[in-house]
């Protein structure tokens, strides 16, 4: 079984986000980049499948050379090989088209993406990829079993869960639940050593974009908190009614 895990190279969850002075882009100064947390659940799920039934795991990222340490980290965690599609990821549809081209040249049985990346929060690439490939997809996936060429996938829907069955190949937009937080793996020294010699190939991606980011800014700062004494909860109720009109 061939599994493709798509990973994004994103600012760490604890990073303070700043934009360049002209507001055109993220200012990467002082920001540590990590494997997108949603994708980490997908990578770990792929490792579980490999350990249970055998698989070759390829990790893929669309980005510049600066994203290669993130791919190497995925190799150190246990992926077998990595592909970097050399392109600036400006637009989800262009990213999805680049990944589609790679998939069509390399047969994969299962494509696992995180449901979204924590940088641009598009939640677009997995569904776009499935549409371009004309294969099934399950988004917000919190459980997956593979039996031969059939997948059973559990997904979060508004207010509950749904379970779907589909034939492989398919695309998963995954999140926590695919595996648990405690299942996530930190690369060990042996993994880091072997990752250095695992193949990392570079393919050219597409350029062009249907959308254009015009500007970024930070949300306006909150005004100072109004404190209410714990024995004056009635005052809080009054403020919520009269001042903020929340109730």
């Amino acid at each position: 079984m061939n599994i493709l895990v798509c990973i994004s190279h994103v600012p760490d969850t604890t990073a303070k986000i700043n934009f360049t002075a002209d507001g055109s882009a993220l200012d990467p100064a002082g920001v540590q980049f990590v494997i997108n947390p949603y994708d980490e659940f997908g990578l770990t799920k792929a490792l579980h499948i490999k350990e249970a039934q055998g698989a070759t795991i390829t990790v893929l990222n669309v980005g510049g050379p600066e994203t290669e340490p993130t791919l190497r980290k995925a190799l150190a965690i246990g992926a077998d090989q990595a592909v970097r599609i050399n392109a600036t990821p400006t637009d989800a549809i262009t990213v999805a088209k680049s990944i589609k081209n790679h998939i069509q040249a390399n047969a994969y049985d299962l494509i696992i993406c995180g449901q979204e990346s924590i940088d641009y929060n598009g939640q677009q690439v997995p569904a776009m990829l499935a549409a371009l490939l004309d294969v099934p997809m399950v988004n917000a996936c919190v459980g997956l079993t593979i039996d031969g060429s059939t997948a059973t996938a559990k997904a979060e829907i508004d207010g509950g869960h749904a379970t779907y069955t589909a034939n492989l190949p398919m695309v998963i937009g995954g999140k926590k639940g695919l595996v648990e937080e405690k299942d996530l793996r930190i690369p060990n020294m042996r993994g880091i050593m072997t990752a250095r010699t695992k193949p990392l190939s570079v393919e050219e991606g597409l350029s062009g974009s249907n959308t254009a980011a015009k500007a970024f800014r930070k949300p306006a700062a909150k005004s100072a908190v109004k404190m209410v004494a714990p024995d004056q909860v009635n005052e809080l109720v009054r403020l919520l009614h009269e001042e903020s009109k929340s109730i």
Binding site: F19, N121, N139, A153, H161, A162, G177, N210, K214, V237
Partner: protein, 312 residues
């Protein structure tokens, strides 16, 4: 025209569905065109969409899944200048599928109506609400998926002509089971969210959180540590890697306010933090704060809110 996909659940429209029609109306008024709503043929009371601005309402037999519905919509693009979808679970899969099928320009996580329409320019949340992106939908069909609650519902009459339509769409997955908790407010759409963290000391103490939520008609939520240790289900985890919410009111009880949690809630209009630690970072992100013990404050708050509800 602006085409708006109007979701229903068990044949009833969702709140976000009316908001989607309001969004489409505002966009259409800027573009000087009409609004066409697409609804399931089973949805009750489709004519009610006219009061939010639908000029025509096409009823059709919809596929069961977002990608299947997107396939249907992709065949209905004649004369369409833009598409609106609410960012619900269905919408989050439908919108990007449609964008791929018709090579459109999609903004998801959108928090504003268009500031211009040639090309369409909107604002959207990025970097887990730590940033706001202004994006132009420059090439191809503009498609907007907006965050429920971000725009609001506005009444404005449309012509409301009902027409029955048909469009083929194929689901590529088979639905084998659906379970939705009845009588509970779904978190992403909730107007009020009551959320609690490790300060509650154990899952057995959630009774008062649920009671407070019931008084307020709120959805319940929790912090990441609480879902990781299994006190509450993952589906309640609010934060950067959980659900992102933007209710009118978010009440955080016994949650310190780690940056990852705040990223998931900072879009809330009003935030109340209740915590024993006066240095808890949540107080910097909150509008109102109480330094106090949840086990003392929450029962009082329930009592005061009951009295308030009785008097109003």
């Amino acid at each position: 025209m602006i085409l708006v996909f109007v979701e229903s659940w068990n044949n009833q429209f969702k709140k976000a569905s009316f908001e989607a029609v309001s969004y489409a109306r505002k966009w259409a008024d800027m573009a000087g065109c009409s609004v066409k709503a697409v609804v399931s043929s089973g949805a009750s009371n489709p004519e009610s969409l006219a009061q939010y601005g639908a000029d025509s309402i096409a009823t059709l037999d919809l596929a069961a899944t977002g990608p299947g519905m997107a396939g249907q919509l992709s065949t209905m693009m004649d004369g369409v200048q833009g598409v609106v979808v609410a960012g619900t679970a269905v919408g989050k899969t439908l919108a990007p599928t449609l964008a791929a099928l018709i090579d459109g320009a999609l903004s998801t996580n959108t928090t504003s109506t268009p500031s211009s329409v040639g090309p369409v320019v909107v604002e959207r949340g990025a970097f887990s609400s730590k940033g706001i992106e202004t994006i132009a939908l420059s090439e191809g069909m503009p498609i907007v998926s907006f965050v429920p609650n971000a725009i609001g519902i506005e009444e404005k009459a449309g012509a409301g002509a009902i027409e029955s339509g048909s469009a083929s769409g194929t689901d590529k997955v088979a639905v084998s089971e659906v379970s939705v908790a009845s009588g509970k407010v779904a978190l992403p759409e909730a107007e009020v969210v009551v959320s609690a963290g490790r300060g509650l000391k154990g899952p057995e103490n959630w009774g008062m959180i649920e009671e407070l939520a019931e008084v307020l008609g709120a959805a319940t939520a929790c912090s990441k540590p609480v879902s990781d240790i299994g006190w509450r289900p993952h589906s309640e985890h609010v934060g950067q890697t959980g659900i992102q919410v933007n209710p009118n009111l978010y009440i955080a009880i016994g949650i310190s306010g780690a940056i990852q949690h705040l990223a998931g809630v900072s879009a809330s209009k009003t935030i109340v933090a209740i915590n024993t630690d006066p240095e808890a970072p949540f107080f910097k992100a909150a509008d109102y704060g109480i330094v106090g013990d949840a086990f003392d404050v929450v029962p009082r708050l329930i009592e005061e809110l009951r009295a308030f509800k009785a008097a109003n």
